[in-house]
């Protein structure tokens, strides 16, 4: 299992703060993104290929090629706007 976390506009528009997902078929973050896009609706819109998406694995910035392992915490969020 992996834990998915969503922040800011993603959290609000998807109505999900965090969820557990089976990780057996997920080699990397890209696989997770594709899985979520298949849900359609706001998922496919917010996570579309042409959207700017930031991602973190175990609280470190990651990219679509970052490998996933059971127990990982994966976060998806829009570009950051602090400072």
């Amino acid at each position: 299992m992996i834990q998915l976390r969503l922040f800011a506009r993603f959290r609000e528009e998807l109505g999900v703060d965090s969820e557990q997902l089976a990780s057996d078929e997920l080699c990397c973050v890209e696989d997770l993104l594709n899985l979520l896009r298949q849900r359609g609706g706001a998922w496919s819109r917010l996570l579309a290929e042409d959207q700017r998406i930031m991602m973190a694995v175990n609280q470190e910035m990651a990219n679509p090629q970052t490998p996933l392992h059971s127990g990982d915490e994966i976060a998806l969020f829009p570009p950051v706007t602090g400072g």
Partner: protein, 154 residues
Amino acid sequence: MYTIRVDSEPFDPNHEVDLLRGEDPAIGAVVSFVGLMRDLNEGERVERMFLEHYPGMTENALEQIVKQAFERWQLQACRVVHRVGELKPTEPIVLVAVASAHRKEAFQGCEYIIDYLKTQAPFWKKETTENGERWVDARDSDDQAIRQWSADGS
């Protein structure tokens, strides 16, 4: 020697700079950046702002940025404070204060840290205006700003 803090209460940038100076009596130069909440953004009056963050990762990200600055320049001390939660106009959002024996390094270290903070630290701003709530969009100029740090060797 650095201090990083994510604070849900208002903070006083002046007090933070005093603490930085107090850490080392040999400090000869301090460069600081303070970002303040404005009451106007993109032509709309902003009544308040909510700053969301990713607890745990935020602190890790800030620490990595500050460590990279210490590796790149000879810095004596650094203090980063970032506000989260509900903010009112004119309140400080962020302070980055850097001390170095050489002013050029203090300037570069301070600018490097705020540039990376803006693009790499997980904070998100949501404004409440007279027309309702809106998430603040990231700016291309912030992405451009960090490119200079890999392009120039300074």
